[in-house]
Symmetry: C2
Subunit: 344 residues, 2 copies
């Protein structure tokens, strides 16, 4: 409990004060076999007294592992990502690992991160959160040469924890269809510069399939693709409305985008759900207070599982043993933003 401004006590201090050798002190502290109970007690007493903590640098240099795991995450200010990080951090720190945070947001960050790979040689594993990577970026990650997992997404053939975005999308669109809607618009989000990101494809394909299965022709005039932001969703909704497409419902790729869409609806003097039904995806905490019908996904859990996956592959490195990927379930949460179409 004493504050040591000058030099932290070293193992040799402990050894000297306890009257044993360095080796013995080390063994006692690490609970290794072959130390008498009395000796260990003596050493630990000194540790306590000196408030000794081993230098991780030295410890790890000698041992050859870092005890750290890199967490690569974009948009950390958004609920989804923060929630994911919360789950991951808890699991990792409980397992005794430290989390090295790499926030990769804009294209510059991105180029910098994958170019320099600042986490290289600093971690035992790496978790990438819902991050669409291009081919080059994936290759760069591999040169880190450590275990890897994806949370809320999928990267090459690495193990992952995520949801089935297609199923989630179907839940939302099928709900609208079941209510009797036919003129259903979609506001789809797409990552800039990464056209192939699966999430979008799947949530979009769910829409297309669901409509077709009901024999409803999908009308390009009812679809808008935007870069993720409530502003863009607001504008897209406004656009959809003025284009005069006679929609009775709108399926939005996420709740925060739905917020933007609802704003545009209100601005246009339309009521939800009387005039237009709205359904989102995520079950973001605000959804409840917006009375928004949405598809719930367990976010924190995805983080927890991704963390367990890398922990597993760190520990089982030697044996041939591939961790299992996990797809978590989603469920429709019906609130007040959806209803039967007026003229339905």
């Amino acid at each position: 409990m004493s504050s040591h401004a000058p030099n932290p006590p070293s193992l040799s201090d402990v050894a000297r004060l306890a009257g044993v050798s360095l080796a013995t002190a080390s063994r006692a502290i690490n609970n290794a076999y072959g130390v008498s109970a009395a000796t260990r007690r003596k050493v630990l007493a000194v540790v306590e007294q000196l408030d000794f903590v081993a230098s991780p640098e030295a410890e790890r240099l000698a041992r050859g592992v870092t005890g750290r795991i890199a967490l690569v995450v974009p948009h950390i200010e958004r609920w989804y990502f923060g929630e994911m990080v919360a789950g991951i951090e808890r699991e990792l720190s409980t397992a005794g690992f430290d989390v090295l945070l790499y926030h990769v947001d804009g294209p510059d960050d991105r180029r910098d991160f994958f170019g320099r790979l600042p986490a290289r040689r600093k971690v035992d594993a790496c978790i990438v959160v819902a991050f669409p990577l291009d081919e080059d970026e994936r290759k760069r990650l591999e040169v880190m040469g450590v275990a890897m997992a994806a949370a809320g997404g999928q990267i090459a053939d690495h193990p992952f924890a995520s949801i089935d975005d297609y199923a989630a999308g179907r839940l939302a669109v099928d709900h609208l269809l079941a209510l009797g809607h036919r003129r259903i618009a979609m506001i789809a989000s797409c990552e800039p510069n990464v056209p192939g990101w699966p999430v979008n494809n799947l949530r979009t394909r769910a829409y297309i399939d669901a409509m077709q299965e009901q024999g409803v022709p999908t009308d390009p005039n009812l679809v808008r693709e935007i870069e993720w932001s409530a502003h863009n969703a607001d504008r897209a909704m406004h656009d959809l409305l003025t284009t005069g497409s006679q929609l009775t419902a709108v399926y939005v790729h996420s709740d925060e985008l739905a917020l933007g869409a609802m704003h545009a609806l209100r601005a246009a003097g339309l009521r939800v759900p009387e005039d237009v039904s709205v359904v989102g995806i995520d079950d973001h905490p605000i959804a409840e207070f917006l009375d928004l019908t949405t598809v719930h996904q367990p976010v924190r859990e995805q983080g927890v599982i991704a963390a367990r996956i890398v922990l597993q592959s760190i520990h089982g490195e030697n044996r041939e043993f591939a961790p299992q990927s996990v797809l978590l379930p989603t469920r429709l949460v019906v609130r007040g933003s959806t209803a039967k179409p007026r003229s339905g």
Copy 2:
């Protein structure tokens, strides 16, 4: 670009292949003085070829610094905290530091973190984000013996970057008062178990002072203190309404709480701002879409400045040189949730 599964190349590999000594290789790589251009080129070529990266453990063991900074943050899933982290991370990584993330949420996390101090000996400095600490926790933090700064709050006499919560509160309440409101309710948030946390005091005191200056008696029936959550705000608003306190406006300590309050208002069949005006604090991204009048605070900037503060104190450790704390400005953002009182 080659992936090295077996053993990463070491400095001695580089030295051998370049035909120089370890020391020279090290100097060439670290841009130290006293290396001929030709030699350096040769060494760097080998570095490139081998895709060599120095072992941070060894580097730091030898150098005596860690190149890491601890970030202690609660509630990372909330916008405010995520935004703060984004600002801090960017600044630190640009300066070449790695960020060790410690998410401290519930009481258990808390006890664990301050008990074990997992960051001890692992970092050169520590940034604490808007975290109310009790006396014991602050003392524990000191034993880490490194530079420290607070972002969005204040800790003992450490330098900090935050806003003037009193001024922010005044901006909100004075606005309501100026519109003619007199029956103004307040929904105040308080951290559990930390009654003395300044933020709440200041935002609350702003309310009290503002009312008194206008000669409006503050009525305890118009005030509710809750633990931070939109749910609690919802309930508090409901309670305020049913208590029959004849309020015409409500001042809420933050935008996310205002969302809950607005939900209760809507549920009660009341309209904003026709029946009740609502004002929040933060200028959370959703505020715009809720058409919520609020007080803007620069969150990311607070993070950036806190980061600069610790960087400064790391570099200026030797000289007597205390970094300056910073109070960032806030401003009222008037939207559609506030208006003159009906009977005003």
